[in-house]
Symmetry: C2
């Protein structure tokens, strides 16, 4: 009797932003294979009896290869164990789920996907801004800046044209280059943007800027997302402490614990 | 003492895909103002003592205006009641949250946003396909096809260029026009696509097609999303009953209750 593999989204950070289903399946798992971006508080929700293993691959320290992750999932399931493959945010966005699904199908292992709240939604909720607005943003695009090979993902030259909000995942620490690449993708330099670091966690920080000023801003700790577009200009930081201003008049850093005003 | 307003995402349909936080806040609400797209099973999780009201505006039957929704939220909060503004999916995507946030700020009403699992993630999880893939889709774009005025939202001519997955929300029933508009936005006619209707609910149905063939496909019940891009070609409908084939060899309809194989 084979076990089953669950590809599960752990949400943006706050354990309360797990889905009820993810929480239920996690609390019953035999094996948990989790990525570096998953909060320790969430990993701790697994049963004490479970085999728990960090298979995170972050740029520069790939201690477990993608092929090894496949091998582990399949081997545990073939031993009759239910395997929880836990990924930050939603499992189907920027998470190599396509390759894991193919490997499971080829091995004849039963699997199920449990969607999650992606980092962009956690970040926008924490900042109190919409991601689309019928008056200024009719389309939302998710980009990733870095490949783990160290090369950048190319941005299409017209991404910023029209009424669009962009969210950049894995923006990296080189904001000057990111600013230039976004401006080169048709976003005007005065476009508002927010960097939201560790959204919905106790270490959440928000930097409000424009694309032009972002080039000189202090970089915030990963994981973070950068929200670009007119909607970012509606950020008010209502009632929140503003700290570590970068010296740039349009950039403020806001350190918060709770999600909203 | 004023009450607080919670803008909450109800997720894609399955009540188990509510977040733990959304479920907690819903179970304590004094007032629930919900949109038509929210599952009845989820609305039923509110306390029996709560004032519960459908303020849904679907195209053609706008029984409560946007301004009236603002007035209601503010009036209930000013009476000291905690108000749950419940929206399908995530509250910050295609949901007029920007206008509601502005109205609450102007009225000095305290609010908090609780993010949710958007329909696209529910649909892709149910279909067993990734939304990005480092080999074929480095960017994900969310579009909406219809405005409630009956006019279409314009699609940028280059949306389909490069390695992209698009998800169309509110695709409407005119698949011929949608197919033409997507092909006009640089998606090749042979691009794979999936229509996922009522994702993660008991009435879920999936139609697998290409953009060219979509023009002649039978339309599926709302709410639905259309996923467009090479990732849609990895749909296998593993172990599921295929029914109501449209006669088009590339289009199959798959009726499912449970999310995956």
């Amino acid at each position: 009797m084979k076990g089953k593999v669950y590809l599960i989204g752990a949400g943006p950070g706050d354990p309360e932003l797990l889905t009820i289903k993810a929480h239920r399946v996690l609390s019953e798992a035999d094996v948990v294979l989790y990525d570096d971006l998953v909060s320790p508080e969430i990993v701790r929700l697994a049963p004490a009896s479970a085999h728990i293993e960090n298979v995170g691959k972050r740029c520069g320290k790939a201690h477990v290869s993608q092929a090894e992750i496949h091998t582990k999932m399949i081997a545990f399931a073939n031993h009759g164990l239910d395997v929880l493959r836990l990924k930050g945010g939603d499992p189907l966005l920027f998470g190599r789920a396509g390759e894991e699904i193919e490997a499971l199908r080829e091995a004849g292992v039963n699997f199920e996907i449990v969607p999650g709240v992606t980092a962009a939604f956690g970040a926008a909720a924490a900042a109190g801004i919409p991601l689309t607005d019928r008056r200024s943003a009719s389309r939302l695009v998710f980009l990733t800046n870095h490949r783990c090979t160290g090369t950048n993902v190319s941005f299409d030259a017209s991404i910023g044209s029209g009424n669009v909000t962009a969210v950049v995942y894995m923006p990296g620490a080189n904001y000057r280059e990111l600013s230039q690449r976004l401006i080169g993708s048709s976003f005007p330099p005065h476009t508002p943007c927010l960097v939201v670091s560790r959204a919905t966690s106790g270490e959440q920080r928000i930097l409000s800027s424009t694309l032009a000023s972002l080039a000189d801003a202090e970089s915030l700790p990963a994981p973070s997302v950068v929200i670009v577009g007119d909607v970012a200009g509606s950020y008010r930081g209502d009632g929140k402490r503003e700290a570590e201003a970068t010296g740039d008049i349009t950039s403020t850093v806001d350190e918060t614990v709770s999600p909203l005003p």
